[in-house]
């Protein structure tokens, strides 16, 4: 459902994009309207949740994700990257390998490798990661902790999840998923 519309196939969405396995109710949500920029390799390769999508519940997966909608609950991508677009409005704790934030997050972030806050971003919550990149203009309220052992633990997590199938799942009560 978060694949681009048929008329967007001309955009550079690769045919080998991993399949998504949301609940049936999620399938009815409005598909992503964002035009994928071929100049941004991450957005081309990653699964894509558009700005009109609202998810309440647990969002987890084993592939990179570009998220430009709203999420309330938890996001767990573990060994994968999460890019939150400029329209992204997240009220959730996030676990990922890497977070690149353009939009707004209210919640704690645990990233095994890196957190990058772009100048348009707002992050209200605590960050635990190995490396932080913050652009001037970003707004941050919370704590930043860079534990020395993070890198080792992150590597263990990555190894533990290696070899899994590429999928993205949303676990949520159907009634709580509202296409906006």
């Amino acid at each position: 459902m978060w694949k681009s519309r048929p008329d967007e196939k001309s955009a550079s969405v690769p045919p080998a994009q991993p399949s998504l396995t949301p609940s049936p109710a999620v399938t009815s949500a409005v598909p992503a309207k964002e035009t994928i920029k071929s100049s941004d390799p991450f957005r081309v390769d990653a699964a894509h949740i558009g700005k009109s999508v609202l998810i309440k519940g647990e969002l987890s997966g084993s592939e990179d994700l570009y998220l430009d909608g709203e999420v309330e609950g938890t996001i767990e991508l573990r060994e994968h990257s999460l890019v939150i677009g400029p329209n992204g409005r997240i009220r959730a704790n996030i676990v990922a390998r890497e977070l690149i934030l353009h939009g707004k997050v209210e919640g704690n972030v645990q990233a095994g490798e890196r957190v990058e806050l772009k100048k348009s971003s707002t992050l209200l919550g605590d960050v635990s990661t190995q490396r932080v990149v913050i652009e001037d203009g970003a707004f941050f309220k919370g704590a930043i902790d860079i534990p020395k052992e993070t890198r080792t633990e992150a590597r263990k997590v990555i190894n533990a999840h290696a070899g899994g199938s590429s999928s993205l799942s949303v676990t949520t009560p159907p009634a709580l998923v509202d296409p906006k």
């Binding site: 932080v132 990149v133 913050i134 652009e135 001037d136 970003a138 707004f139 941050f140 309220k141 919370g142 704590a143 930043i144 902790d145 860079i146 020395k148």
Partner: protein, 222 residues
């Protein structure tokens, strides 16, 4: 000495900064480098503690976050002036008198435990805050600091004038701050020495560092 201490020593011994790094926005004064004896003392007090926690109350500064995290510091950031800019906590009582709703303010800000922090970078924010909140905020800060914890604050002298530009403070080296003109906050009040002493009366010690510009650095220890 702890690893944090070693990191800080390396930093103290590092090469000095000779020129500003930050870019200048159109219409703004160029960044200024300023020697800061207060910063040196502040970092010495924090040094040696296991995983020290420092709260930066200025506008989010990538430079400060990067610098402090490299030293093994757990960095907290809370942009105090922005909190007041985005939301007014002034409420009108039934008798028509406006008053500051401290409970509402502290419900949304300064959610730290007692004795949680080793240091607070207060910068010159006291001069730009609404006057009714300065004392309550300092009282809350007193609770948030560990015994022996330090505050680095700066106060404009009377020569600065009400139109003194608001600066962001970036830590450029162990003894150097870079002052970059920030948003147009208006200086609300100038604190003289007695005001500062009264403000931090409940703390264990206050040390003044006089500068050649219109700023005085103050190091306060709980």
């Amino acid at each position: 000495m702890s690893s944090v201490g070693h990191s800080m020593l390396r930093w103290f011994r590092g090469a000095g900064v000779s020129e500003p790094v930050s870019a200048t926005a159109p219409g703004q004064a160029p960044p200024v480098l300023r020697h800061s004896a207060g910063l040196v003392e502040f970092m010495r007090l924090v040094d040696g503690k296991e995983k020290p926690s420092i709260l930066d109350l200025g506008q989010t500064s990538p430079v400060n976050i990067s610098c402090l995290t490299e030293l093994g510091v757990r960095v907290y950031n809370e942009d105090l002036l922005r909190a007041f800019q985005e939301k007014s906590y002034m409420v009108r009582r039934p008798d028509g008198v406006d008053h500051f709703d401290l409970d509402a303010f502290f419900a949304e800000n300064f959610a730290y435990g007692d004795g949680q922090l080793d240091g607070i970078l207060f910068w010159d924010i006291a001069g730009y805050l609404p006057e009714p909140v300065v004392k309550p905020i300092v009282e809350r800060i007193h609770k948030m600091l560990k015994p022996g914890g330090a505050i680095l604050a700066l106060f404009h002298t009377k020569d600065a004038g009400p139109d003194a530009p608001y600066f962001r403070y970036h830590i450029r080296s162990s003894d150097t701050l870079e002052l970059v003109q920030g948003p147009n906050f208006r200086l609300q009040r100038v604190f003289n020495t007695r005001h500062v002493e009264n403000l931090f009366r409940s703390f264990a010690s206050i040390k003044f560092f006089l500068g050649r510009d219109h700023l005085r650095e103050v190091l306060v220890v709980r």
